[in-house]
Subunit: 612 residues, 2 copies
């Protein structure tokens, strides 16, 4: 009773209260809350996308920073195209059409596994990049914290991990606050900023710690790199189409409207910030974000509105990281159910599987944050590859979906998705070209490795299933079990284990290895008195080894009775304190290790509970 209670209590603290089956999925999203819950990833990239463009352009000197506006408009057009493409996925997959599912349905398992690998990496980088950018918003406002940005990142990561392990319910109302706060602050910033520009009342911005400014010629490659970087603005656009079933009915229609609203907001904010950066002639800084500089300029210094922008940016970025905390375990669970990931990730009953996903995600994101010094800019090259692989596969899959389905107007639908697929494929090629040497090679290497892991896992489970098949099963099994109790002396734990052994079989033998004749005589005499008539076999050991005589004895027994099982019963001390484990059970562990790979041998530990 007490132990079960303790186990449940522990689980409850770690994982939160269980949800009865009939109550699951009771909360559906309206368009308002749906936008808040599903678009934080897409909207929050406004916080860093413009900056990533400017950081490349600055190599060409201050004169070419203005190129950011045409690049930004290009990306905005792409974003609109992709949003329309995903709008079709919503109607085609009302039960949720992630890149993995769409690829599996239309392109086969190979493409689906590439999509799964790309997405799992994408979610991990969403966490790392969003936290790094969120911390950058904080350190822009409080520059003295800049040196502690890795530590700050890890604190945010730990909070997200613990919160999700305890089970943050995706409560639309609470999640709405940061998203709408961010939308209001950024639209306000853009509005006031443009007005000041038009009326000529802009405040000059002084850049602290500007990044090194080049004076060289800006080639095509650099322009393409700047474009690649800006495409971070497109990340997260697929989230709504994955989450269709979470909407209130009519699900598809509500989701489609939310997607379009999100695209419009995203484009407005991104283009607005990009134009303002140009208007205010902002130079990227090592220690302050572009958004922070623009906010200083627009609102005339570090006032309440300025801090409001920084706070809103930080909050929506943390929220964006949090969305990956539901996406990653959910995808891992789907992939595991298909047999491509270990079963620990598959959701069976309670929340344990999700906890495994949460822990895996946190560890990987933590490694990235530490390895890249918590620097958004250093992480961006790794981010884009996974995102655009999944975009391309998902929309390419949709083209085949329409062709397969046919029906009226299938060509138009296929065309829209086809344009999306081609556009994202082109971006993918550009990203691969410009980013491989900057770190994207890690991802280009990791995706095939992950696919191999998926395949090896699947093959293994498949082989296991065939070995477990009952075809040809003739009910084989032991009729009789000989029970051995290796003893090192005669004491309470040994006698208790022997009594237990006698409850299992009428062929029980205590075994004592003779390494010292005097000790052996003592044990023989004590066994005579206390052994309760159980047979004692003394095994000679010319080399003073405790293990080999035991193994030989079992060999002989198994040779004599080839169909029976041998059960080895060991007393196992269960200490009252953790460190006492170090003081016990080493011999038992060795015996278990030596017998692990032996067929028809079962090793059983009878717990002996120590009181102190």
């Amino acid at each position: 009773m007490a132990e079960g209670g303790a186990y449940s209590a522990l689980k409850r603290v770690l994982l939160g209260r269980p949800i009865p089956t009939h109550l699951a999925h009771h909360e559906r999203l309206s368009k308002i809350t749906g936008l808040a819950v599903l678009s934080s990833d897409a909207l929050s990239s406004v916080a860093y996308a413009t900056e990533e463009i400017l950081r490349v352009l600055v190599i060409g000197g201050l004169g070419v920073l203005g190129f950011s506006t045409p690049i930004g408009l290009c990306i905005a057009t792409l974003l609109a195209l992709v949003a329309f493409s995903y709008r079709q996925t919503i109607y085609a997959y009302p039960s949720g059409g992630g890149a993995y599912i769409v690829s599996k349905d239309n392109l086969g398992s190979g493409a689906a596994l590439v999509a799964a690998a790309a997405l799992l990496i994408d979610y991990t980088l969403t966490v790392a990049v969003s936290i790094a950018a969120g911390v950058a918003a904080v350190t822009s406002a409080f520059p003295t914290l800049h040196v502690n940005r890795v530590e700050l990142s890890l604190v945010f990561l730990a909070l997200l991990a613990i919160g999700n392990l305890r089970g943050i319910r995706e409560s639309g109302r609470i999640f709405s606050i940061p998203t709408y706060f961010f939308i209001v602050m950024i639209l306000g910033l853009v509005g006031v900023g443009v007005w000041r520009y038009v009326t000529g009342t802009i405040h000059p911005i002084e850049t602290n710690n500007p990044v090194p400014i080049g004076g060289g010629v800006l080639g095509t490659f650099a322009l393409l790199t700047a474009f690649s970087n800006g495409c971070t603005a497109m990340t997260g656009v697929e989230a709504v189409s994955n989450g269709v079933p979470a909407f209130r009915p009519p699900e598809a229609k509500n989701a489609a409207r939310t997607l379009i609203t999100m695209a419009i907001l995203s484009i407005t904010m991104f283009v607005g910030i990009t134009i303002l950066a140009h208007a205010y002639r902002v130079v990227p800084s090592e220690t302050e974000t572009i958004v922070s500089q623009i906010a200083r300029g627009t609102f005339g210094g570090r006032g309440i509105l300025y801090f409001g922008v920084q706070l809103a940016t930080m909050l929506i970025l943390v929220l964006a990281a949090n969305t990956a905390y539901s996406d990653f375990p959910r995808l891992a669970s789907i992939v595991a159910r298909d047999g491509y990931l270990p079963r620990q990730f598959a959701n069976q009953g309670d929340r344990l599987a999700f906890s495994n996903g949460i822990i895996a995600l946190s560890v990987f994101a933590g490694v990235l944050l530490i390895a890249f010094g918590g620097d958004t800019h250093a992480l961006i090259p790794l981010y884009m590859i996974g995102v655009f692989i999944s975009f391309t596969l998902s929309q390419g899959g949709m083209v085949l979906h329409w062709r397969r389905l046919g029906g009226p107007g299938w060509r138009t639908s296929a065309l829209i998705n086809g344009i999306g697929a081609v556009a994202t494929a082109v971006v993918l090629v550009i990203v691969a070209m410009t980013k491989t040497l900057e770190g994207a090679w890690i991802i280009l290497l990791l995706i095939p490795i992950l696919v191999l892991v998926f395949r090896a896992t699947h093959a293994h489970y498949h082989h296991v299933a065939s070995q477990l098949s009952l075809r040809g099963w003739k009910g084989e099994g032991p009729q009789h079990s000989t029970v051995l109790v290796p003893i090192g002396g005669v004491h309470r734990a040994v006698l208790q284990a022997t009594a237990y052994a006698r409850s299992l079989s009428n062929d029980v033998r205590a075994l004592f290895v003779d390494t010292d004749p005097a000790a052996t005589e003592k044990v023989r005499a004590e066994w005579e008195e206390w052994g309760g008539g159980t047979r004692l076999d003394v095994l000679p050991s010319p080399y003073r080894s405790l293990m080999e005589p035991l193994l030989e004895y079992i060999d002989q027994l198994q040779t004599a009775k080839p169909h029976d099982y041998v059960t080895v019963v060991l007393p196992e001390f269960v200490p009252a304190r953790w460190w006492q484990h170090l003081l016990h059970n080493q011999r038992a562990l060795l015996i278990k290790g030596a017998l692990l790979f032996r067929p028809r041998v079962v090793v059983t530990s009878v717990p002996f509970h120590l009181e102190r």
Copy 2:
């Protein structure tokens, strides 16, 4: 058969061939080989002791380096006193009188535990300091290797660890080579060096990378520090008295002569090197040892004799480190047999216990080498405390030994040991005063911590023994065992586990947790067909938890039958490859974890061997 064979083969590769009981201790040491085997630690300190004195004196400028000679003569006198003191221990403890044993016999367990802690630390530092100094001999000859000294140190450490795990037999003949080679080279160096000095034919030595030279006044504290440092020359002097039983009969007499020979050699070489350093006006260098500089000067550059000295120095230092590889496990084994260290260190039968000692020693020494950058000079302050605590306790114990024993001439014997004890106690105080802030505080903190660990371990084993006592044992034990087989489906592994369960008890119940009515119906039907008549209990699970219904079922069973045992039989997959472990048995592990602390519940895994 095959598995036992594989186990034995693995053990043989790792640990070497076992030694039959009747062949153990067949090799006894002559005086010649005894000197080689037991004095490498003491003699090898000549390689760094002089340098450690000069490194302090140089703070007072080049003019005071000559103070090294009187300090050296002081230490030589002390060494002679201590050697005579230990000579008495040899006769009093012909079975080997380490500081732990002498303290335990004469001063009680408190002092003995302090001695044990000091000695274990001392052995660890012997390994670290000797390897660091051996590497310094190599990098003095080949300065380009200086930057890699930590890596080189770890290579030596790994070689020693592997060699000792495989079981280097303390073969006197092989061990004689480096010791006598070193003695010949150093005596030759001193002889030629003195002759050159007397005849005025010395070569000037140019010091590369000299340490910073001070010009300040040299106070008493600095002189005491220099003296403390020089006392490293005394380390290892106790080794012969620990190893008396290894000598050929008459053991005590042979050991005593060996000790005196060693003391004479040690004093001659140490004083010789110290005087030569003065004569050649050697200045300590960051990258070249004093001995290397003297050898360059004496032999006129980097010729064969120079490299001979460096090679001999390196070899004897590695040999000195190697002696700790037999001392540490032996002492740990004695302390463990007294119940103050975990039983894993106590030698019971085969060499496994020694392997644990070897691994522990290597890990600790490796940590020290890395933490202190493989720098002899940085490690010395930590070294002396442990050495002089054990010296003082050992000789103080001998004084009480003589008083207790009485007999003719006991006062003389007590006086000799008393002088040794007082002398080493004074050095101990000086070392503590001068070295605490330089790093010895670590050791002063570590010794009481280790003593606490010893005491906690002992108290725990004592409590366990009383809980295991058979006083009042009424032969209690289960009469009957209910066997439960939790199943997740109906397949070969489950049926095999069920068959095994039936061989143990006639009360076997398969348990299936109902989280999905359709799956439950399927399992019911399959069980009907394949279950062989074994009872199937379906447990409802409103919260989709797999574990809690199981725990509740066991609770109810135990409440109904409070004296019986419940055996839970789980099929356990034994994969063919290591990584496949990650794909299985998670559920079994959880069940084991949840049931671990429950009285009268035994969890048994029936192995199901996977073929691929």
